[in-house]
């Protein structure tokens, strides 16, 4: 008998305090011991988590109107420019935008973290002035309490899988994958592997538009496929199927988030990014879904890429799995290379367990997607047309 469950049944069990919820790590020994069918019968939800740099992020902010009013045409928050081409007092603050006075050490991500932490942010805006919005400049301070909305809206988060970065050149390089030492002195990777949301539902059987998620410490939603979405099977390696290009666009109330789960990051020589904590609950509707959430680090492969090659297509140096990466040393072309994650596995685990606790308490119900994400995506290069 194959077990089938619905979202409604699972939510009923959550409300009654009867649901069985485990993390994507905890499910592994359960499936090993009991098998897929029995585990599917017993477990209702598996929680995932990730906490890493997600550059394609930012916040929509509405400041409220001053008197006399201004139609803000250029806006800076702590000297970081926010895009103001939206009505009068709405802006979009990008996480990677750099400060005009502090340069690379401070950026949009830091403004977002400071705002969440309740700090005062300096707002400067200029305008040409109109009959209805006569004011031409304003300088004041805002806090998360003083503004109308602060909405985190990230066009591309939670990358399904990501490269391992190495550097075969003779000089140290500074990249978004961290500092890479010459002669393959280190290897950096950035995925929570067996805990990662999109590696636990690689075919998007449950994750879709409308899915309620843990986002930066608050409840948020998946609103679309992420930009550069490419969900197709990439290739097979060591008998394993490799999915790599799934991404999510997510939204949530910044005011409810916590600096424990959303933090500014600065990569020397590259710039600023935002570390975001995301957790996605996966309802165990059937055994096929269970088969995917039981995935282990040793079954998930990723490609080693030479970042010293400054072109779009970079040379591949082979494939490696997350068990090898997490053990701290990999071997490339006969050389032992120490590995470093850029995404925090400890935090990913904390998020998966926090989400589990929230579901068990009945504070977090599962939302069935109102629409599936597309089956196919395109990853087009930008051509230079003259």
């Amino acid at each position: 008998m194959t077990v089938k469950k619905t979202y409604k049944e699972i939510n009923e069990r959550i409300k009654k305090g009867e649901a069985v919820v485990v993390s994507a790590e905890e499910i592994i020994p359960i499936v090993e011991k009991k098998g897929i069918e029995k585990a599917t019968e017993e477990v209702d939800v598996v929680t995932t988590g990730t906490f890493g740099p997600m550059c394609s992020s930012g916040a929509i902010i509405n400041f409220g109107h001053s008197d006399p009013p201004i139609r803000m045409q250029k806006v800076w928050l702590n000297d970081v420019e926010a895009y103001a081409g939206l009505a009068a007092v709405d802006v979009y603050l990008g996480a990677t935008q750099l400060s005009e006075s502090k340069g690379m050490a401070y950026g949009g991500a830091h403004v977002i973290e400071d705002l969440i932490s309740g700090k005062k942010i300096k707002l400067k805006a200029i305008s040409q002035g109109t009959d209805c919005y006569p004011r031409r400049e304003i300088e004041t301070y805002i806090t998360k309490e003083s503004i109308n909305q602060a909405i985190l809206f990230n066009p591309r988060n939670s990358y399904q899988n990501y490269n391992v970065a190495v550097n075969t050149s003779h000089r140290k390089i500074y990249t978004y994958m961290g500092i890479l030492l010459p002669e393959m002195g280190n290897a950096n990777y950035s995925t929570s592997g067996q805990l990662s949301p999109l590696l636990n539902d690689p075919k998007f059987m449950t994750i879709g538009i409308g899915t309620r998620i843990f986002l930066g410490g608050a409840q948020g939603y998946i609103v679309w496929e992420g930009t550069q979405f490419y969900p197709q099977l990439l290739k097979t390696e060591g008998g394993k199927r490799i999915y790599k290009g799934g991404t999510l666009a997510v939204i949530g109330n910044l005011k409810e988030m916590s600096p424990d789960f959303i933090r500014a990051a600065f990569f020397k020589g590259y710039g600023v990014s935002l570390l975001i904590g995301i957790g996605v609950p996966i309802p165990i509707l059937n055994s096929e879904i269970m088969k995917y959430v039981a995935v282990k680090d040793e079954d998930i492969y990723t490609e080693i890429v030479d970042y010293s090659f400054p072109r779009l297509k970079k040379p591949s140096l082979g494939w490696v799995n997350y068990k090898q990466l997490r053990e701290g040393m990999i071997n490339i072309r006969g050389k032992d290379i120490p590995t470093s994650p850029l995404s925090s596995y400890a935090k990913a685990r904390e998020i998966a367990l926090k989400l589990k606790a929230e579901i068990l308490k009945g504070n977090f119900l599962l939302q069935e997607p109102i629409q599936k994400l597309p089956k196919k995506g395109e990853f087009k290069p930008l051509l230079e047309i003259r």
């Binding site: 990014s273 470093s340 400890a346």
Partner: protein
């Protein structure tokens, strides 16, 4: 036998003193120079690993202090702000002497200060600015 890592800070007055020589010759200490930064006539810093008996190290360091050289122990020089840290691990592989590792069970960072030579790699690799080195 005791092992200690120390930082000597020299001023323009005592920069010419043959401190290392005396520590070896007079106090019979095993001396390993980890880092040295000097500007002629202005002063400088020396990071050393000293090996010897407890009284030997104490007497040797007393001698250095008497010359007006500031003596600090290395543990105090690498500051890891655990509150700022998110345990990502970006500092692990770049660490030149294996000081920093991720615990295999908790995946939280661990610092083995004994091995540190204050190279500063971790400082520039940390995306949170959670590690500081005063050397």
């Amino acid at each position: 036998m005791l092992k200690k890592k120390v930082i000597f800070t020299f001023s323009s007055e005592n920069v010419e003193k043959p401190v290392t020589y005396q520590l070896i010759k007079k106090y019979d200490l095993w001396v390993n120079i980890l880092q040295a930064k000097f500007k002629p006539n202005l002063g400088g810093k020396l990071v050393l690993e000293l090996k010897g008996s407890k009284p030997q190290i104490k007497e040797g360091l007393d001698f250095v202090r008497q010359l007006g050289v500031k003596v600090e122990f290395l543990e105090q020089e690498v500051i890891w702000d655990e509150k700022k840290c998110v345990d990502c691990g970006a500092c692990v592989a770049i660490c030149s002497t294996g000081v920093i590792s991720l615990d295999k069970i908790t995946y939280k960072l661990k610092f083995d200060y004994e091995k540190c030579i204050v190279c500063g790699n971790c400082v520039e690799a940390c995306p949170l600015g959670a590690i500081k080195v005063t050397f």
